[in-house]
Symmetry: C2
Subunit: 221 residues, 2 copies
């Protein structure tokens, strides 16, 4: 097991070094960078589509999509006229910093005001990987159930912003919003929780204002 531990430590150190390089590069580019993490089907790509609809004429957006297979998500973003690059992990369950470096070398994504990194659909593995982002966003759709912050505490404690998605389906599913709000706040006292529906547009203003506010903060700093 000693070999395994040593190799893992080396891999982790290398990954941290790549993340530092990315963070410095993003700072130079003055880009706000978000790392979006959720289960498969929580609505990450749809949220990005509706965000593009609202913000593309106000700032330069770019997207890196992570998936095990298919270019579908990048195609959906490119169809809206926003540069997007698909990283195919070929089975791996998360994105790592080296893949983001390669994406930046391969595709014309920077300069951008906001770069969204949509991680592989997985509520566990992407949590511990630093991609040089300004902050992580955890998405949870109301259809997944209100027990998920209890069962997957790591991501909800590390994500500065939690977005509860598909709020339009609340009348049709059991979901105790008060319990989720309270538990996410206890896991992450300084975090922000938003509730929205990409379908109806409810809550989208607050989400877009958060993005623009964080971008302005970054530009001032």
């Amino acid at each position: 097991m000693k070999h395994v531990v040593t190799i893992r430590r080396k891999a982790l150190a290398a990954s941290e070094e790549h993340a530092r390089t990315l963070r410095s590069r993003f700072a130079d580019a003055r880009a706000l960078v978000l790392n979006l993490i959720s289960s498969p089907g929580s609505g990450k790509t749809t949220l990005l589509e509706r965000t593009v609809d609202r913000l593309a004429d106000r700032c330069r957006l770019a997207v890196i999509e992570g998936d095990v297979a298919t270019e579908r998500d990048a195609d959906r973003i490119r169809a809206l006229g926003v540069p997007a690059h698909q990283v195919l992990t070929g089975g791996a369950c998360h994105l790592d910093a080296r893949q983001i470096e390669t994406a930046l070398e391969t595709a014309d994504l920077l300069p951008a005001d906001i770069l969204f990194i949509e991680n592989v659909g997985n509520l566990i593995c992407p949590t511990t990987y630093d991609l040089g982002e300004d902050f992580k966003v955890a998405l949870l759709s109301v259809t997944e159930g209100d027990d998920k912050p209890f069962k997957y505490p790591a991501i909800f404690s590390r994500a500065e912003v939690t977005v509860i998605t598909k709020s339009d389906l609340l009348p049709h599913v059991p979901f105790d919003m008060a319990a989720v709000t309270e538990h996410v706040a206890s896991l992450n006292p300084g975090g922000t929780l938003l509730v929205l529906s990409s379908t109806t547009g409810d809550g989208m203003d607050a989400w877009c204002n958060l993005l623009l506010g964080r971008l302005a903060d970054k530009r001032r700093s």
Copy 2:
């Protein structure tokens, strides 16, 4: 990298050995064993609860629950009077055969007619781990979207049975059932696809009949 490859091969060989031991043990116990795999919140535990409601007076059921954190799922099953053991992975994204062996040593689960192993909520990592089961069941809720078999092909090609859950929500979400049916069939030509709602009970008869049929087949073999 040579060390990493060697260590991975050794780990895989050890894991396969544990799976063989489990398979032999399950055969001796004449238990039908299912490995349930899906995204978080696809309805694995709820399906098991409703399955217990329908089958507990006809056969002996037992459940192993895998989660990163909390005893919630095992508590839900135990509340129905069925033996259940919770494996807490402490961050790991899947169950492995060694954990199942330990669960069998720790809890009185066998003899049972049907043992359900509910894997950690994750559509990627559990796919390649053999737990000695008779077959894998992939669950996909209609709220996750009809693109998931394309984006996560490995599990849908390996699971003998695919269960489309939460069919009661079909009127409220975009989900092309014909496309999903066709794609799952192309990934897994010999597989079975069921559509059901644990909430309304639609499709539950077919699911329970499949379980009883497979149990009878196993007993005859």
